[in-house]
């Protein structure tokens, strides 16, 4: 007996071997269940052990089921004890969501409808203000000024331009990164799209309207040639069915 115990303890179980009982009970996740199935298919010793486990599983259920059920005394005792408990006040430890739900439950349907309308109006106003601010910013990002020599004061310093008649263009903010509208093929998987975005250092900034996503590339401005080359490359991608410039 002792020798058997010693021999048993000397054997270190493998990870798969240890998972067999959960496989028999059907409580493994899909990945582990697949691993165990594959191991069972190729290892007859493991399959033998699994048969023993299935026997143990069935007998454990049988044993537990044979224990019967508690008598009505247990239930009577419980509900008598509950009746004897002091009346419970609403707990202070109620979570926030429960409190919020409770607050809304107390409002009448009319009050709730008015509150919802007011909330929607506030959201619309907020969206309008944000939109106006954004539009204003976009307009101010570039300024083109023509240099008129006639209007220049004789005392003003001479501008350092190569051609006096050429307009002077100054960027007031950083130049915007290029954008494109892209449609992916119907069989494109999320993993493929993520990989493509990584490759192009792109991010989806809007979509999907009519199946088109607005993509922004890199975080810097690109030359016309560089962007044209990027677009050609993008159009040749297997998971891209359409790619157009959206500058």
């Amino acid at each position: 007996m002792m020798a058997t115990s010693k021999k048993i303890l000397e054997q270190e179980p493998s990870e798969i071997e240890m998972l067999l009982p959960w496989h028999a009970a059907g409580t493994l996740n899909a990945r582990d269940a697949r691993r165990v199935d594959e191991a069972l298919a190729r290892d007859p010793e493991l399959a033998k052990q699994y048969a023993v486990i299935q026997e143990e599983y069935a007998e454990t259920i049988h044993l537990n089921e044979s224990l019967g059920a508690p008598s009505a005394r247990a239930m009577q005792k419980l509900f008598a004890a509950i009746d004897g408990e002091p009346a419970r006040k609403p707990s202070m430890s109620l979570n926030i969501s429960a409190r919020i739900a409770g607050f809304f439950a107390k409002l009448s349907p009319r009050t709730l409808a008015w509150s919802a309308s007011l909330g929607a109006l506030a959201l619309l106003l907020q969206a309008g203000v944000i939109g106006a601010v954004l539009m204003k910013k976009q307009n101010a990002s570039f300024q083109t000024a023509s240099l008129s020599t006639d209007a220049r004061s004789p005392n003003a310093p001479s501008p350092s331009v190569s051609s006096p008649s050429a307009p002077i263009t100054r960027a007031l903010g950083p130049e915007a990164p290029p954008r494109a509208l892209v449609r992916f093929t119907p069989d494109a998987r999320v993993a493929d799209i993520t990989a493509l975005l990584d490759n192009y250092q792109a991010s989806i900034i809007d979509g999907a309207k009519g199946g088109l996503f607005r993509l922004q590339f890199a975080n810097r401005a690109m030359g016309r040639e560089e962007f044209a080359s990027l677009m050609r490359k993008l159009q040749n991608e297997k998971i891209v069915s359409l790619a157009v410039d959206a500058q």
Binding site: T60, L63, E85
Partner: protein
């Protein structure tokens, strides 16, 4: 509360009964467990299944009851009983009945081994859930069940049942 009780009381009772080995004590246990649930309902965070929470409370109550009774050593007696009666003709007949012997040996396991076997096979708890109920790391759950099964094989062998494993 009645719905919760109706849905879970039998399994809670059986889990407790297997741990304390006394029907009366097991019945008292379920009253205590559900009364605790009634008192602590606000503390249930919903991170695990209700049955996992109930079994964890049951286990705690059962171990407290066992400590009060101080009869844990009975487990060894139960294990010995299987070997001592091996020459009895009645037991010899039982030897041929593997199922019966298996159930007897499942009963003779230590409380630690019994609870893990029951949680996995009967209560169908995952590795993570058993770890939560028994308050041990997940790897310990796996090795403990493995050694519980080894012990079961030893008990069966001692009772004359050879299953070809280990």
């Amino acid at each position: 509360m009645q719905v919760l009780y109706g849905r879970h009381h039998v399994r809670v009772f059986r889990f407790g009964f297997r741990l304390v080995r006394d029907e009366q004590v097991a019945e008292d246990l379920i009253s205590e467990v559900f009364l605790d649930v009634w008192r602590q309902a606000g503390k249930f965070e919903g991170r695990s299944a209700v049955s996992t929470w109930l079994l964890a409370i049951t286990r705690f109550k059962a171990l407290s009851a066992l400590r009060r009774r101080k009869d844990v050593e009975l487990d060894d007696e139960a294990a010995n009983a299987i070997e001592d009666t091996s020459d009895d003709p009645e037991v010899a007949t039982q030897k041929r009945d593997t199922s019966k012997a298996l159930r007897k040996c499942l009963t003779a396991l230590s409380p630690e081994h019994r609870e893990i076997v029951d949680l996995v096979y009967y209560h169908e708890k995952s590795v993570e859930e058993v770890a939560e109920i028994v308050s041990i790391p997940e790897n310990t759950v796996k090795t403990r069940l493995f050694y519980a099964r080894k012990k079961l094989a030893e008990l069966l062998k001692a009772a004359g049942v050879e299953r070809g494993w280990p």
